[in-house]
């Protein structure tokens, strides 16, 4: 797999993101941009387990929420700077991912998915009862002073999200092309056969869970700074679980670009509808688009682009449109 082009693109993207903090004066741009990039990270992270291995995780919001509250707790206790909050959240996310994996990954198919739903409820209940981070009432975050090389707070958070996007996509791209991705695809195709061939299935699923969890938690960490408050009801909100899944499916799960495209398309549509009509309608749009894509383009945007010949990489690899055969 060639990386030169990818890194040039990534560098260009980061330079543009940084430059925009000086050039764009409308802060609304950064509000919308931040949310879009946040979903790119979540969808990409979800796809590492859900897309490559076919293990559908309904607990993205659990990881996101834990990222949010790791940051809140560390900021309140030690006034840790944002980069360290993100790093700590990634470590907590890895541990949470691997621990959840160890408890649930022996369950196959739909049973694993049900277990991940429970995770959201358990962790949210825990945070609701944790007074130090504000409990059910939430907590106000007073932003620390802004580093001098950023003109605005919104701009800085936008750049932070952009950096996380580059990290998440690079990790997903690496996993996809490596022995890990190959093993995960084998698990999705036929887990029993993979096991019989000597593929270390449990270990690979745990690695995927850890990576996915780390990225989800990491992107949760800057969120309290962005919102200037944190409340369990919002941090563990259902859309954080449903949207990344829908975005990855709409974009296409077989290729790393799929979740990126899906997240950009879907979150842009949602933001547009929230502003012009209502935020409830944006959720409806998500549902409608998911249904449309499942019917008309089961391999997502990537599959659609391939069909018209605009996208060519390696093998035409059908995504798991038939679901997991277990």
């Amino acid at each position: 797999m060639r990386w030169t082009g990818f890194w040039i693109g990534a560098a260009l993207f980061l330079v543009l993101a940084y430059a925009s903090t000086f050039m764009v004066t409308n802060t609304f741009f950064f509000f919308v941009g931040y949310v879009m990039l946040q979903f790119v990270v979540l969808a990409t992270a979800w796809n590492i387990l859900g897309g490559y291995a076919g293990y559908v995780n309904f607990g993205t919001s659990a990881f996101f929420g834990v990222g949010v509250y790791t940051a809140v707790a560390l900021f309140k206790a030690f006034a840790l700077p944002l980069p360290l909050q993100i790093l700590a959240a990634a470590v907590v996310g890895t541990a949470l991912g691997v621990a959840t994996g160890m408890m649930t990954l022996r369950l196959r198919g739909i049973f694993y998915s049900i277990a991940t739903v429970a995770l959201v409820i358990i962790l949210e209940t825990f945070v609701v009862n944790w007074k130090f981070v504000g409990g059910a009432a939430g907590i106000q975050i007073v932003r620390p002073s802004l580093p001098s090389f950023f003109p605005t707070y919104e701009g800085m958070l936008f750049v932070v999200a952009a950096v996380l996007v580059v990290i998440a996509v690079a990790v997903a791209r690496y996993v996809e092309g490596s022995w890990i991705g190959r093993g995960l695809r084998a698990i999705r195709d036929d887990e029993l056969a993979a096991e019989c061939s000597g593929v270390p299935t449990l270990r690979l699923k745990l690695i995927a869970c850890g990576i996915s969890g780390a990225l989800m938690c990491a992107i949760g960490a800057p969120n309290p700074m962005y919102q200037q408050f944190a409340i369990p009801g919002a941090a563990f909100e259902l859309p954080y679980s449903v949207s990344p899944l829908a975005m990855a499916l709409i974009g296409g799960t077989a290729h790393w670009i799929g979740p990126v495209l899906g997240a950009l398309l879907l979150s842009a549509t949602q933001q547009y509808l929230s502003v012009t009509i209502s935020s409830e309608l944006s959720l409806l749009a998500l549902g409608v688009m998911l249904v449309l894509f499942v019917i008309a383009a089961p391999e997502g945007l990537v599959g659609l682009l391939r069909k018209v010949g605009l996208f060519k990489t390696g093998t035409v690899r059908p995504s798991n449109e038939k679901g997991k055969g277990t």
């Binding site: 190959r182 084998a186 999705r188 690899r317």
Partner: protein, 246 residues
């Protein structure tokens, strides 16, 4: 490398259904041993016990490698594969939505084989040239015979010393069955493998067998100490031709 597989008194069941009722057999270094039997007599269950995907309820499976004994009933599939055991499963069980080359690479997770991936792939292509022509094709879109070749090549990717083959003839035309069995015989000679093959196609299996066993209702009903002994025993006629044994 000296290798010896000893199965003694292995029992296994699926819920209330007993599939193996005390199977004992032995495979010596460099031998090709066949396990003959018609459908539903426990051949595949025994193969699954050997690779660790079905746990026996009683009995011992011991693999001796260079004097070190390993109890396979206590090891995971991954650990068994790491010892140098590879299974060509019944019905091939390829990864249909992955390419031929990816299927091959998935056979090479064993740490001893990971460094030799390029060599082993080249070797697979040399043995089965059709796989090279089709290396970017999805495995599920190939013919049955090609899939069987891929399944065998995938098993060889782990550089095994003991090759387990479960019913290579399933779903293949008579000509392909004969080619597949011949290929297994060639590979065995070429790499000095020890082979245990479960098969119901008695005539084809005998072509490469040194000796073998006949399994009936989860028990070893007959042990043939040579190819001739196997070929000329009455039980085979009874099982396959329906003639009463006198």
């Amino acid at each position: 490398m000296a290798l010896e597989l000893t199965v003694s008194g292995v029992e296994a069941s699926y819920g209330a259904v007993r599939a193996l009722a005390g199977v004992s057999l032995h495979v010596g270094n460099g031998e090709t041993v066949v396990l003959l039997g018609t459908n539903g007599n426990g051949k595949s269950t025994l193969m699954k016990c050997l690779i660790g995907s079905v746990r026996p309820t009683a009995g011992m499976i011991t693999l001796n490698i260079d004097g070190a004994a390993h109890d396979l009933t206590r090891l995971t599939t991954e650990e068994i594969v790491n010892l140098g055991v590879a299974l060509v499963p019944e019905g091939r069980r390829l990864f249909p939505k992955l390419t031929v080359e990816e299927n091959l690479m998935l056979g090479a997770y064993r740490s001893a084989a990971r460094a030799k991936i390029a060599d082993n792939i080249a070797l697979s292509y040399e043995i089965f040239p059709v796989l090279k022509e089709r290396r970017t094709q999805l495995a599920g879109t190939m013919s049955g015979g090609q899939q069987q070749m891929l399944a065998i090549a995938r098993a060889l990717m782990s550089s095994p010393t003991l090759l387990l083959v479960d019913e290579p003839s399933v779903g293949l035309s008579p000509l392909l069955v004969s080619q597949t069995i011949a290929a297994i015989g060639d590979l065995k000679r070429r790499f000095g493998l020890t082979v245990l093959m479960a098969e119901q196609n008695f005539n084809q299996a005998l072509k490469i067998a040194d000796r073998g066993y006949i399994i009936v209702h989860g028990e070893i009903a007959y042990e043939g100490k040579s190819r001739d002994e196997l070929a000329n025993n009455a039980l085979i006629k009874e099982l396959y031709l329906g003639a009463a044994a006198h």
